[in-house]
């Protein structure tokens, strides 16, 4: 890929080198975007963000092009957010703006803070996005959001899966039946509104179980203990607990979650974290 890159770089320069010998297709003054264009595009984006925070989806809808790919998914996701999440505050930082003659691309990191509608539990999502803004006759319009979508909790944000600790001494694992204090947390804004989610746990010894995580705030699922125990007998699958055959350690316990919509134009992605038992 690196050699392809340099070949293309040379090709780019070759394209330009004798440029003045060529006649342009259309006599036009070259357009170069300036900071005023970038500022206007950012102001238009800020206006959309304020409308999203206040739940004014009608204003956003009026500023979208009906030909936008995923128009209805975008709108439905925003409406679902304004019903499920209260007091939404979207904080943008580390902004980088790239502008062309009629296009501006604003790259930012974001944090979205909110309270769940049912019990007012605070929550926070974070991600990185590129907002594509197009200049139209009536100003700058939002053409698309790529990367993690902060506006619509079902439009694709990459999940995070965390498991602590990463290593467990066999001596600390109770004999069956028993449970072990293992912290598992999954954050997937695409699943905001679900009360629980099941991820997969499997061991290198052949056991395989579903592990239910409970929502602690919209899109954030957690459990603090796992039915994990040791036994000299071979494990039994789908028994409701993860069994470690203590005569065959070290063993690896892996947790796996498939993020169906990870954003950034990425197809369904598998996230996994492993714990070593020795």
């Amino acid at each position: 890929m690196r050699s392809e890159f340099f070949l293309l770089l040379i090709a780019c320069l070759a394209i330009i080198a004798p440029a003045k010998a060529q006649a342009p297709a259309a006599e036009q003054k070259p357009q170069v975007a300036g900071f005023e264009d970038m500022k206007a595009a950012r102001a238009a984006l800020d206006e959309i963000i304020r409308a999203y925070e206040t739940g004014d989806i009608g204003t956003i809808q009026a500023r979208l092009d009906p030909a936008m790919i995923g128009y209805q998914r975008f709108l439905d996701g925003m409406r679902r957010d304004t019903a499920n999440l209260k007091q939404i505050r979207l904080h943008l930082f580390e902004a980088n703006v790239t502008a062309g003659p009629d296009v501006a691309m604003i790259q930012v990191a974001w944090e979205k803070r909110f309270f769940g509608v049912a019990d007012f539990t605070p929550g926070i999502f974070s991600g990185r996005s590129s907002f594509l803004m197009h200049r139209s006759r009536d100003g700058w319009r939002l053409a698309a959001v790529s990367g993690d979508n902060p506006f619509s909790s079902e439009s694709g944000v990459l999940a995070t899966l965390t498991v602590m600790p990463a290593a467990i001494p066999l001596a600390a694992v109770p004999f069956c039946p028993g449970a072990f204090p293992l912290s598992i947390e999954l954050v997937d804004p695409d699943l905001a509104g679900l009360q629980s989610v099941t991820i997969e746990a499997f061991t290198s010894q052949g056991d395989r179980e579903g592990v239910v995580l409970t929502a602690v705030s919209p899109g954030r699922f957690r459990r603090s203990t796992l039915p994990l125990c040791q036994d000299p007998a071979p494990p039994v699958g789908s028994s409701g607990g993860v069994e470690i055959r203590n005569t065959a350690v070290p063993a690896t316990l892996t947790f796996r979650y498939i993020d169906a919509n990870p954003g950034a134009n990425r197809p369904p992605a598998t996230l996994s974290r492993s714990v070593v038992i020795r």
Partner: protein, 585 residues
């Protein structure tokens, strides 16, 4: 802005090769530069050389005697003190003394033949973690290039905008475009990275670096038709992130597309089709396709649009516009039915193959553990929206907007959802005052998250008034504007509980020439959540500014927000007081 056009000289080289540090230093010397609004080239270039510490661009006498250098820019410095409480989950702000320095420089040279060379740089330096989470400085924009008749070359931050299904994204690299006769060839290559700092420092990366290229050729066929073809690809660098990065497999993708734009009289059509190959390291690859067609007819009072988009789940492109896993068909019409009424209607059917799946129970154990295949979950949605706008000829300034929309969704897993919304907004505008009254109602039902099914009613009202000494022949020397607004929202959840939030906000802005400007905001909200817990918030903001000379300015600001202080678990507040100095040239 500094504008130089006095002498019959042309800058042949140097503008695009100017050293970046020089430009940055040049900003710090801006007071000296500001003494001359209209300087000759020699003076500007001497200052440039002094600022950059290197030789100035060479000046060569031109043939037609016109050269134009423009240098726009500004610098702002903020010092502020903030107190904050509540923790990171509730507020992005932390307490302390902070500063922020922002600089922008836009240097351009226009050659006699009209070719433009430019170099743009924007920087932020701050010790406030709510502005810059990692590090304390950031390049916000870095771009240089040259554009003229039939060609464009850009380096740095480049906006690649080739097509909807091909490449449409920001890139840190190079972009070159040139006409060969009537055919436009565009090529770009570079790296997709979170920022320039992440590109330089692995410790600041949270995503893989993505090496990318994109090519496009476009040519007209007759007066009404343009056709184009694109090729692009990318590969994520698996070694580019540290051990704490998301547990993802680096991927690669290649795409080829072909499309056309046609317009004849009142009809127009845009279409593009694409084929892609996507792969994750160590896993089987996927081939997929995409097609979009958008067309329409625009009459004097009626406009019709029709479109169909079909993008496979594994369609991998470099376009932010190309949302994978979408199939939708829509019809949209705008009709100026009468002088006092316009209507906009939209119906569409969408299929979302990336919808959040209901989580299936784990499959039975079949040792050794096989990899679970991903089970596609398809969400189908049918939606209709109608908006009407009325103006009343007998009552100038009075307007009424009505909207109604509904969407029904079903999944292959048997779940369903429904969104319905209605709204009305009445506005009245006069030169000295304006008022509005609005109502919105929305209902949401979702069988896989029934706990949040609800109906919301929201009323909004506002009244604004302007005062000034403007007359028919003289502009205003002072003005005052005041706006009071309120919103009243009530949400009924299916489980029988209710939450309310009533908000009032008052904004006053005044400006007097030679004095400066002042704005004040005062607001508060009261209500309760679905558990019955009381919600109380209040906020205020004062902002005063005035010019310092022709190009400078000073601003003082104080803003504060206090939320839910009588509920310790969710209480947060922040207060900021600061001063900003600015200089523009």
């Amino acid at each position: 802005m500094i504008r130089c056009s006095r002498q019959a000289e042309t800058i042949r080289r140097g503008l695009t090769s100017a050293a970046l540090p020089g430009l940055v230093l040049g900003l710090s010397n801006s007071p000296a530069l500001a003494t001359s609004q209209l300087a000759d080239n020699g003076a500007v270039l001497a200052q440039f050389a002094q600022a950059s510490g290197g030789p100035a661009p060479e000046l060569v006498k031109g043939e037609d005697g016109t050269t134009q250098i423009e240098w726009h820019g500004n610098a702002t410095v903020d010092f502020y003190s903030r107190s904050a409480s509540g923790g990171a989950t509730l507020t992005p702000y932390s307490g302390g003394q902070f500063h922020r320095i922002g600089m922008q420089s836009d240097l351009r040279g226009t050659a006699p033949e009209g070719d433009v060379s430019w170099m743009q740089l924007a920087l932020t330096q701050s010790d406030d973690p709510s502005l810059l989470l990692l590090g304390n400085s950031q390049i916000n924009t870095l771009s240089a290039g040259r554009a003229g008749q039939g060609y464009r070359l850009a380096l740095g931050d480049v906006a690649v905008s080739h097509s909807s299904l091909g490449a449409n994204m920001p890139l840190r690299g190079i972009l070159a475009q040139r006409y060969f006769g009537q055919t436009l060839v565009s090529a770009s290559a570079g790296v997709i990275a979170e920022s320039w700092e992440a590109l330089a420092d692995q410790g600041r990366r949270r995503m893989f670096l993505k090496n990318a290229y994109a090519l496009k050729a476009e040519s007209p066929f007759g007066q009404n038709l343009q056709a184009y073809a694109t090729v692009q690809g990318y590969r994520e660098d698996g070694d580019s992130v540290g051990a704490n990065a998301p547990a993802l497999v680096p991927s690669s993708g290649n795409t080829a597309t072909a499309g056309l734009n046609w317009r004849e009289g009142r009809y127009y059509l845009q279409a593009e089709g694409g084929l892609s190959r996507y792969g994750e390291k160590g896993l089987d690859g996927h081939r997929d396709r995409a097609l979009i067609v958008d067309g329409g007819w625009q009459g004097d009072k009626l406009g019709l649009r029709l479109g169909h988009h079909d993008l496979g789940r594994y369609y991998a492109s470099l376009s932010g516009l190309a949302g994978a896993g979408i199939r939708e068909t829509y019809a949209n019409a705008s009709w100026q039915a009468a002088q006092w009424m316009s209507l906009t209607g939209d119906v569409r059917r969408s299929e979302n193959q990336m919808a959040a799946p209901p989580v299936p129970p784990p499959p039975p154990t079949i040792p050794p553990t096989p990899v679970t295949p991903y089970t596609p979950f398809v969400g189908k949605t049918e939606a209709a929206n109608l908006r009407a706008q009325f103006t009343f000829l007998d009552v100038p300034g009075l307007g009424l907007g009505l909207s109604v929309g509904e969407s029904h969704g079903k999944s292959s897993g048997g779940s369903s959802n429904r969104n319905a919304n209605q709204g009305a907004n009445l506005t009245y505008m006069q030169p000295a005052w304006n008022a509005s009254l609005g109502y919105q109602n929305s209902t949401l039902k979702n069988s896989i998250a029934a706990g949040s099914d609800s109906r919301s009613d929201t009323w909004t009202a506002s009244y604004g008034r302007n005062w000034s000494d403007a007359t028919a022949v003289a502009p205003a020397s002072w003005m005052l504007n005041a706006t009071a607004s309120g919103s009243f929202q009530r949400q009924h959840l299916e489980n029988g509980t209710t939450s309310t939030l009533n908000t009032l906000n008052l904004v006053v802005m005044g400006e007097r020439s030679q004095w400066g400007r002042l704005s004040a905001i005062l607001g508060g909200s009261r209500g309760h959540d679905a558990t019955g817990g009381e919600l109380r918030q209040h906020w205020y903001q004062l902002d005063a500014g005035r010019a310092l000379g022709q190009r400078g300015g000073i601003r003082l600001y104080l803003r504060a927000m206090s939320s839910f202080q009588d509920r310790a678990a969710i209480a947060y507040r922040d207060k900021t007081a600061g001063v900003q100095l600015s200089y523009a040239f």
